[in-house]
């Protein structure tokens, strides 16, 4: 194999699995260490730099980082990354003086943003400090998008939401509430330098079965949640069926319980392994005694004299192999009585307000054609991001789309090519302090993942907005931070120093290192100390070593970043170095700012 080029930031980035898994590349291990040191403000700011909404995301993020987390591979659960984010947010002091500020002198460029969800808010967050004048048009009377009126307050309290949205709006964003944009043409005619569409995916999918329109008691999940959030709806029948088993379904069933339902069933067509909902959301719903019924395919709404009686379902049986359904069979039918049905089977983006003759092209499924790097539509100066771009995703993806779109908007406004993007940057710095001393907590703590405590059931249902999760206490936090393996403290190898004494190979508690003769990958992996289990994770291969022309090979998969290899190396051929990765944002494209100083960048490497 060719020697690994570790100067390419991508190599070490992939080693930090959580950061690689996070769409916005949040520097997870760095903020976990800051929390461990009690530096909550710094931990919050490291988060905010990439994900903009740490307190919100610390509660409701989809957490793609957690399944990625290396700790989960050591036969246990991943680090509770999301919970720790909340710890940073909950315990921060007043950080307002560290937030980005908009200059009083503007750059003369005006940007229109449609919708005030996380996508548009992030674009404003990135562009306001550069002197742009951002104007948001929001159909509702409040900002936040689905974060406000679909994610229930018992998961995401209003105050938390308000605070982080205000950080952005307070920079002087002009926002027009109750202003639904009805015509893109009109908006374009107003002469903005760029338009960003962050209008989300607001249309809930229908289930057109017999009886659908014969009663008032069948609701579309996301519309129903919205009505609950705006207090247009404050009750529901005793027996409720939720159709669908994604995250929306979980919010619908738990909300029903808080509006007076006592018997709530979530009806799933397929077996559990095919559920779309996150594991923790399922667990939380089941903890509240929601029943999840599998292998029931909806057939009919039974309505008698305008009154909903229940639904009939076909009983399904599946032939499943290797996690895939090969065949299915209907084995019978069942009627389940209920008073209300909530449909939670997905949503899509819809753009009735965008005229089709503006040069903004749509594909046959009525989705806008959006560039995956620049987020520009087929019409120059029009950008999409968040759920509006590629259909429903989640908040952290909306944030990342928006960071990228903000860069494009900035390039567009300055007549620069959008495709030319700055490379990611990486800075490596040793963490050696002295004999047996590293400036990070390198010991391996075998502790299990801490469990989030919840408000007792009886208290939970007293108030619609009562937050269920209590957050980690000091003791839980102290334990959980130590579970992080510090994957950003990289093992950096200098081949010219190695005398091939094998000390590192022998000390490594997970046998990730091997010195062997070079060869093709398939051949090389046969000769490693431990079998390669994760083929996605790249192998490190050094240049030829001086004495025997063999190579040092490292399988990054099980490295616990304990630093023992560096500790035992007599020549310091291995060193433990923190990789500080920087992902360019709009501010880095400002001329004269190549040094990379960001208005909110006050992190100190810990």
């Amino acid at each position: 194999m060719k020697p690994t080029d570790t100067s390419n930031p991508e190599y070490f980035h992939k080693v930090v699995d959580c950061q690689w898994g996070c769409p916005a590349h949040t520097d997870v291990p760095e903020y976990i260490r800051l929390i461990a040191q009690g530096r909550f403000d710094d931990a919050y700011m490291v988060n905010r730099e990439s994900n903009v909404f740490p307190a919100i995301l610390g509660r409701v993020c989809d957490r793609p980082c957690e399944p990625a987390c290396r700790r989960g591979r050591m036969d246990e659960k991943p680090v509770a990354i999301c919970r720790l984010k909340r710890v940073a947010a909950d315990h921060r002091g007043d950080i307002t003086d560290r937030l980005p500020v908009a200059p009083t002198e503007k750059n003369g460029k005006k940007i229109a943003l449609v919708g005030a969800g996380p996508a548009s808010l992030t674009v404003a967050n990135d562009l306001m400090p550069l002197g742009y004048e951002c104007t948001i048009f929001e159909a509702q009377s409040v900002a936040g998008g689905l974060m406000r009126y679909n994610i229930p307050a018992f998961r995401l309290p209003i105050e938390v939401l308000n605070e982080e949205i205000d950080y952005i709006l307070d920079m002087g964003v002009e926002i027009h509430y109750n202003h639904r944009v009805e015509s893109m043409k009109e908006l374009l005619d107003q002469g903005y330098d760029a338009v960003f569409v962050g209008s989300g995916a607001p249309r809930g999918k229908e289930l057109k079965l017999p009886g659908r329109y014969d009663t008032e008691n069948i609701h579309i999940g996301i519309d129903w949640l919205e009505s609950v959030a705006f207090e247009h709806i404050d009750s529901i029948g005793k027996r409720v069926l939720i159709v669908g088993v994604g995250n929306t379904a979980m919010d619908c069933c738990r909300t029903s319980l808080r509006l007076g339902a006592t018997d709530v069933k979530v009806m799933a067509r397929k077996p559990r392994e095919f559920f779309k909902a996150s594991v923790w959301e399922l667990e939380d719903a089941e903890e509240e005694n929601v029943e999840i019924v599998v292998n029931h395919s909806p057939k009919e709404f039974v309505v008698e004299e305008g009154k909903l009686k229940g639904m009939t379902f076909e009983l399904m049986e599946y032939v499943i192999e290797n996690g895939r359904i090969l065949d299915q069979d209907v084995t019978g039918e069942v009627f389940i009585p209920c008073d209300d049905v909530v449909l939670a089977i997905g949503q899509e983006n819809a753009f009735p307000w965008i005229e089709r003759d503006l040069g903004i092209e749509f594909n046959p499924w009525e989705e806008p054609m959006v560039d995956e790097v620049t987020y520009e539509a087929t019409r120059k100066g029009v950008f999409f991001g968040g759920d509006s771009a590629f259909g429903p995703k989640n908040i952290i993806w909306a944030v990342e789309h928006a960071h990228q779109a903000a860069i494009s908007i900035h390039r567009h406004c300055h007549g620069e090519p959008l495709e030319d993007r700055l490379p990611d940057r990486m800075n490596l710095q040793t963490r050696k302090m002295g004999m047996h001393e590293w400036s990070y907590s390198n010991s391996f703590d075998p502790a299990a993942r801490r469990k989030m405590m919840h408000v007792p059931l009886e208290v939970r249902f007293t108030e619609l907005g009562k937050e269920v999760e209590l957050g980690f206490d000091a003791e839980q936090t102290a334990k959980e931070v130590e579970r992080c393996l510090n994957c950003d403290i990289q093992t950096v190898f200098t081949d010219s120093l190695c005398i091939e004494c094998d000390a590192c190979l022998d000390i490594c508690p997970t046998q990730c290192l091997t010195i062997t003769s070079n060869g093709e990958r398939e051949d090389l992996v046969q000769r490693l100390m431990a079998p390669v289990l994760e083929h996605e994770q790249p192998l490190f291969v050094s240049h030829e070593l001086k004495q025997t022309s063999r190579v040092m090979v490292k399988d990054e998969n099980f490295c616990i970043h304990c630093g023992l290899c560096a500790e035992r190396c007599p020549t310091a051929a291995w060193d433990m170095q923190k990789s500080l990765l920087e992902f360019p944002q709009a501010v880095d494209y400002v001329r004269g700012n190549e040094s990379g100083k960001r208005p909110c960048q006050q992190r100190k490497a810990g």
Partner: protein, 350 residues
């Protein structure tokens, strides 16, 4: 900010025939200098003992004094052990294995421990053919006392500070062969592929198996001018032999016999396969072995591999016609027949 080696049992971790993982053959964390060859030998011992599925409680580790003599602490924490005085490991080993012939004995010594202060003891444990692995971690210096030349330092080699060694060296391998050892090998701490099977063969061999393992001292003897440095050994090594140990239960594949390969069947049914790397060599003939060693030494080469084997030399227990049962398992009456029996014995000597 700690320096402790955690035990991590990974998913899919392999276990040996008696259900133990490699970790179960480890000992406490080494306190030797980082990069010391002795640590590599420790790792090779761990590997070999694990592969042979030796139950930790069946093993006794013994040593004298020196960095090398500290290493028994670093493997198989569940085994028995005795850390004796300088150069006296052979006496302790002889006693221990005389008392309990069921134990698997491993003595770890240094070039100072065996060829300087313990030279006399070294000769006699070989003569008695005590059934054990006698492993010398040979670095050419007294490591523990800061790097004085040891008896194995080559004449003309220089110390770290530049003095030239004037005395002739004692060649552990040639000495052992000429003293009648039944199994003699040499290897290098930096070549685990050669070392692990050699250790296994040595443990399986029914008698005193001497392994002289060149083991660079990174701190005092890894400089230019040393003939025991990593670089020097790698440059001057001459592999005479590769070894494999095939357990009694394993089938012997035809492919093992490819090339110039000879099986040596042991009494317990296992087989040592000798694959000649150098065709000009026969490890079953003493004069051939000694001549071969001398020829290569004069060319400045370090010969490695299994250099001499004779599994028909009688071992200590056969020589002394001792009881088959380990003494600890003998009934008290047999172990201590009483004063009457003693008197009878003494009368017979009158």
């Amino acid at each position: 900010m700690t320096y402790a080696r955690p035990r991590i049992d990974l998913p899919g971790q392999k276990t040996n025939e008696i259900g133990l993982a490699l970790h179960d053959y480890e000992g406490s964390l080494s306190t030797l200098c980082a990069g010391c060859g002795h640590d590599s030998i420790t790792a090779a011992l761990v590997q070999a003992l694990w592969e042979m599925s030796i139950a930790p409680e069946k093993l006794i580790k013994m040593s004298g004094i020196g960095c090398s003599s500290k290493t028994p602490a670093y493997f198989v924490h569940g085994a028995h052990g005795f850390n004796s005085v300088h150069g006296r490991m052979p006496s302790v080993a002889t006693g221990a294995l005389a008392g309990n012939r069921a134990l698997i004995g491993i003595g770890v010594s240094g070039d100072g421990d065996s060829l300087s202060i313990g030279f006399g003891q070294f000769g006699h444990v070989i003569r008695r053919n005590v059934n054990m692995l006698y492993l010398i971690e040979n670095n050419g210096v007294y490591g523990l006392t800061k790097g004085q030349f040891s008896a194995s330092a080559d004449a003309g080699s220089t110390s770290k500070r530049g003095e030239v060694n004037q005395m002739q060296n004692i060649n552990a391998v040639a000495t052992a062969i000429s003293m009648g050892a039944s199994f003699v090998g040499r290897s290098f701490s930096g070549d685990r592929e050669q070392l692990v099977p050699l250790i296994k063969a040595a443990i399986a061999h029914p008698g005193c198996a001497v392994l002289d393992v060149i083991s660079p001292c990174v701190t005092f003897n890894d400089h230019q001018g040393s003939t025991k440095s990593y670089a020097y050994v790698r440059e001057h090594r001459h592999k005479a032999m590769e070894t494999d140990l095939i357990s009694p239960r394993a089938e012997i594949k035809a492919s093992y016999y490819a090339g110039d390969t000879h099986p040596v069947r042991l009494h317990d049914g296992s087989t040592i396969l000798l694959r000649k790397v150098d065709p000009d060599y026969d490890p079953t003939r003493r004069n051939n072995a000694l001549g071969f060693l001398e020829r290569h030494r004069s060319r400045g080469e370090i010969v490695t591999g299994l250099l001499y084997i004779d599994q028909n030399v009688t071992d200590m227990h056969t020589q002394s016609r001792t009881v088959r049962t380990p003494l600890k398992d003998l009934e008290f009456e047999r172990l201590n027949p009483g004063s009457e029996a003693l008197e009878k014995l003494q009368l017979g000597m009158k």
